[in-house]
């Protein structure tokens, strides 16, 4: 067992001192980190907060002296002092040398954002953990395997002996991240660097992983550097907070000070962005009391069948959507919330008839979309449009913005020539972009701007119903509200109805009139958003709400988290 120093040690275990990292480009070295300084202490969790491009991940990798190419350290240093016996300088070491390699994984371990791609797809979990152990401990294979099983048991993976021989793709997302943590902690490091370890996970899984990390920290007494963009997570786990913006540390301090008295405008902006999402949007226009039903879904079912063997027998049926019914009124926004695999996206795609449902009816203004043929669908597809999650993937990189937005107009023969250009310009103005930019390609735009382009394309045909599938999940918090406000304005102006699919309760609360909670292909609860959030009835809804991190450190530990385990029918 390593010596456990108490948090009362005053010397920092890691001191980042005026660190500069540059990327050598054709036009010279461009700095991405500008003289940043902060300390990590044993037994404490330091959160590095910032939005994409702020330099958080580069900082983390520089501590291990693995600056991603073409980056170079061009100033400052990082001192590492695990035992109080005098610090060693990490940045002066040869990045491929023995010295730094003994520290990597042995004394400073790291876990990454995407647990699927961070584990080798072709090696067993056991193989990878045993490797990590044998790199730093002089033990034979058998002993290393026993230690690996112990590490898996420590992160609460059931049946660790058997789990060792499994591959990453046989694990669920949460399990993979647990395995990652087990691997990182297998050599009892002094420092754990976690780079957005829960961002790719569901809220309930996130809550479990955060609890796990907290417990392990108490047991092993290590320092944790936790990188995140989520102020809610920060409020849950941080002792110290370092706020980064575009390669600068703009503010650092204790958790309470940062949340109660933020000094820097950027910190204030981050906090306001989170807090505004804690309540319904101020400018929300509710649907008229006498609004008619625009969409009625009854008993919708969709099964995915897995076929196998010579005769293509059906060996497995997944009920992705299992009897879903709801109605949507004109001008209303209905949220569908649930975890990955709950079927929320599938419902949206059934309504857009990307998928063909197996049973049920979708009544859209008197027309049944389930039985509608291709010709009838062509007409309704003008009125029902979709917005997707990833604005980077849903825009063809080889088309200009003008071509992208004009496409639905041309395909449906609505406009051409000068008229087309005017319409595109008007749509761009509508979503808050400069029409002068219409000849540019998508890569010239930021994530938020791209999502605006996607919105402009969706409203080009003046639809009546928009199905938005996680439209803000890929965006930074401060941009999230902007895009949501844009959608709200369009809803008010055009009388749009929305089906808004999200895993994020805060976003749903901000945007939606009503919400349906989905679990395993069924709607377990549906009702007015405020009603459901303040007074959930179904145990699953309660579990889901209890997992959402609250951006208020003073409320930490006041809630009892629980997990929903469905009864077997």
């Amino acid at each position: 067992m390593p010596l456990i120093h108490m948090p009362s040690d005053t010397h920092p275990i890691i001191r980042v001192d005026n660190l500069n990292v540059g990327f050598s480009m054709r036009q010279g070295v461009v700095d991405v980190l500008h003289g940043i300084s902060f300390d990590l202490h044993r037994g404490k969790t330091t959160c590095i907060v910032g939005e994409s491009g702020s330099g958080k991940s580069v900082t983390a990798r520089t501590i291990l002296n693995m600056v991603p190419r073409p980056g170079i350290i061009n100033g400052g240093r990082i001192m590492f002092d695990p035992d109080g016996t005098g610090p060693v300088c990490l940045t002066e070491m040869d990045p491929r040398g023995k010295e730094i390699r003994a520290i990597r994984g042995g004394r400073i371990a790291m876990i990454f954002q995407e647990p699927m791609s961070s584990l080798s797809p072709v090696h067993t979990i056991g193989n990878q953990i045993v490797e990590a152990i044998r790199l730093h401990r002089d033990v034979d294979k058998k002993e290393a395997r026993r230690m690996a099983a112990e590490a898996l048991a420590q992160v609460e993976i059931p049946n660790p002996e058997k789990a060792l021989d499994k591959y990453a793709f046989e694990y669920s997302g949460g399990m993979r991240q647990r395995a990652m943590i087990a691997m990182a902690l297998s050599c009892h490091p002094d420092v754990l660097i976690a780079d957005e370890p829960t961002t790719a996970l569901d809220v309930t899984t996130q809550a479990e992983i955060l609890d796990l990390m907290k417990n392990l920290q108490t047991d092993l007494g290590m320092a944790i550097m936790f990188i995140t963009h989520d102020m809610g997570v920060v409020a849950e786990i941080a002792d110290e907070v370092v706020v980064m913006e575009q390669g600068h540390v703009v503010e650092k301090g204790g958790i309470d000070q940062i949340f109660s008295a933020p000094q820097h405008p950027y910190t204030q902006k981050l906090l306001t962005a989170v807090k505004t999402l804690d309540e319904p949007a101020p400018g929300k226009v509710r649907p008229a009391a006498d609004a008619r039903d625009i969409l009625t879904v009854k008993g919708l079912e969709l099964r995915f069948e897995k076929k196998e063997g010579f005769f293509q027998r059906v060996t497995e049926v997944t009920k992705a959507v299992d009897g879903v019914s709801f109605t949507l009124r004109q001008g209303e926004a209905l949220g569908i919330v649930g975890e990955s695999g709950s079927g929320k996206t599938t419902v949206g795609r059934c309504i857009a008839r990307v998928y063909d449902p197996n049973a049920g009816t979708i009544d859209y203004s008197g027309q049944n979309l389930v039985t509608a043929g291709a010709a009838e669908l062509r007409d309704t597809r003008k009125q029902i449009r979709m917005i997707f999650q990833d604005p980077f993937a849903s825009l063809n990189p080889r088309m200009t913005v003008k071509q992208l937005i004009a496409e639905p107009l041309i395909v449906n023969g609505i406009a051409r020539g000068k008229d087309l250009e005017d319409r595109v310009a008007k749509l761009l103005t509508e979503v808050g972009l400069d029409p002068g930019m219409m000849e540019r390609y998508p890569h010239a735009f930021s994530g938020g701007q791209r999502q605006r382009i996607v919105v402009a394309r969706a409203i080009a045909l003046e639809p009546k119903l928009v199905i938005a599938d996680e439209p803000t999940s890929a965006l930074d918090v401060s941009i999230r509200t902007q895009v949501l406000d844009l959608l709200l304005r369009l809803q008010a102006e055009m009388g749009l109805s929305f089906i808004f699919i999200s895993h994020d309760m805060a976003v749903i609360r901000y945007f939606c009139d009503r919400v349906a909670v989905m679990f395993k292909g069924r709607i377990v609860e549906i009702g007015e958003t405020e009603q459901i959030i303040t007074d959930p009835q179904h145990p699953y809804t309660k579990a889901l709400l209890s997992s959402v991190p609250i951006a208020d450190p003073s409320l930490r530990g006041t809630r009892q988290r629980h997990r929903y385990i469905p009864e077997q029918a």
Partner: protein, 328 residues
């Protein structure tokens, strides 16, 4: 699990080979006329004339007067008991002609495959890891030249250099004194001395394309998060690259076995003629030209089986190499 997979694949080969035999037979029958029309035309060139009666007689003896499906059925049923029929032109059983040539062909192909991998693998890995270095540029340039140069030209150039500058005896797989001698150690040594030239000639373009494939695959893998994970564990740069990204990038490498095998046999015809190699290629070309249908059919069938077997081998290797394939 894996045995079931192999068994399933082998069972699938049976109907597949039947289909191949049918296509092979139809292909050989596709040009107008048959062996006898070619034969008569040849005789006509030397002013010999055959009377109609003996033509009909020959036609009946070879079974060429029967309808196509009867001929096919007879051929296939004989194949099942290992009888490939008689070669019209050589007046010898096809199997004797074929096996004699196939042995050397297989050996040459196998040596070429080994050469290709042994050269392409390290260079490909080097090119990817040291992207845009001098070494990468040199490998890339040589690779493109290797891809673009026709094999026969390379063969001629190497032969010229061999004869003029080293005075060595090139061409063929044996020196004349060993050609018809029984197998002995000196004969094996003689074979090895002759083998390098066709191996280099035949392997160059495949090596070049494999280098490019390996480089492209590895470049994709080198930036994956799991490489970062391995680095963060403290693994040395060499081992982490060998164990993780190279292992994943190996899949397409293994897939090439399937097409390399038949390619070496059939694609090497021109080279084999230039180098006068006693391999299957030139014989097959001759058989196709003279419409020697049983001989040609046997070759087409063997090439197809080689393809199928090559695919089977590469599939089995893939399954061993990549657990994701196993579970699908």
């Amino acid at each position: 699990m894996i045995w079931r997979f192999i068994l399933k694949r082998i069972i699938w080969m049976v109907p597949f080979m039947f289909a191949v035999s049918l296509v092979a037979f139809l292909l050989i029958q596709a040009p107008p006329g048959d062996y006898l029309t070619t034969y008569i035309a040849k005789l006509g060139e030397s002013n010999e004339v055959m009377d109609q009666a003996s033509v009909d007689n020959l036609r009946a003896r070879f079974g060429l007067d029967k309808p196509l499906y009867v001929q096919y059925f007879k051929w296939v049923s004989n194949l099942l008991v290992g009888d490939f029929g008689m070669s019209f032109e050589w007046r010898q059983p096809v199997s004797e002609l074929v096996w004699q040539r196939m042995g050397l062909t297989m050996m040459l192909s196998f040596s070429t495959l080994l050469f290709t991998w042994a050269v392409a693998f390290p260079i490909g890995v080097y090119s990817a890891v040291r992207k845009y270095s001098i070494g990468d540029y040199i490998a890339t340039t040589i690779g493109f030249i290797g891809l673009a140069t026709p094999n026969f030209l390379l063969a001629l150039v190497l032969m010229y250099i061999g004869v003029v500058h080293f005075g060595s005896d090139v061409g063929g797989l044996f020196s004349s004194e060993y050609k018809n001698a029984p197998w002995s150690w000196p004969k094996v040594w003689n074979l090895i001395q002759h083998l390098w030239l066709p191996v280099v000639v035949l392997g160059t373009s495949a090596t070049a394309s494999l280098i490019r494939i390996m480089r492209a695959n590895l470049l994709d893998e080198l930036n994956r998060p799991y490489v970062d994970t391995a680095r963060a564990k403290g693994l040395s740069e060499f081992w982490l690259i060998m164990k993780y990204p190279v292992r994943v990038a190996l899949n397409p490498f293994v897939s090439t076995i399937g097409w390399v095998l038949p390619n070496l046999v059939s694609g090497a015809v021109v080279t084999a003629i230039v180098l006068s190699l006693p391999t299957a290629g030139p014989l097959m070309l001759q058989a196709l030209l003279s419409q020697d249908m049983y001989l040609a059919g046997a070759f087409v069938l063997l090439l197809s089986s080689l393809t199928v077997i090559g695919m089977l081998i590469s599939d089995i290797l893939l399954v061993l190499l990549d657990p994701r394939v196993r579970y699908e």
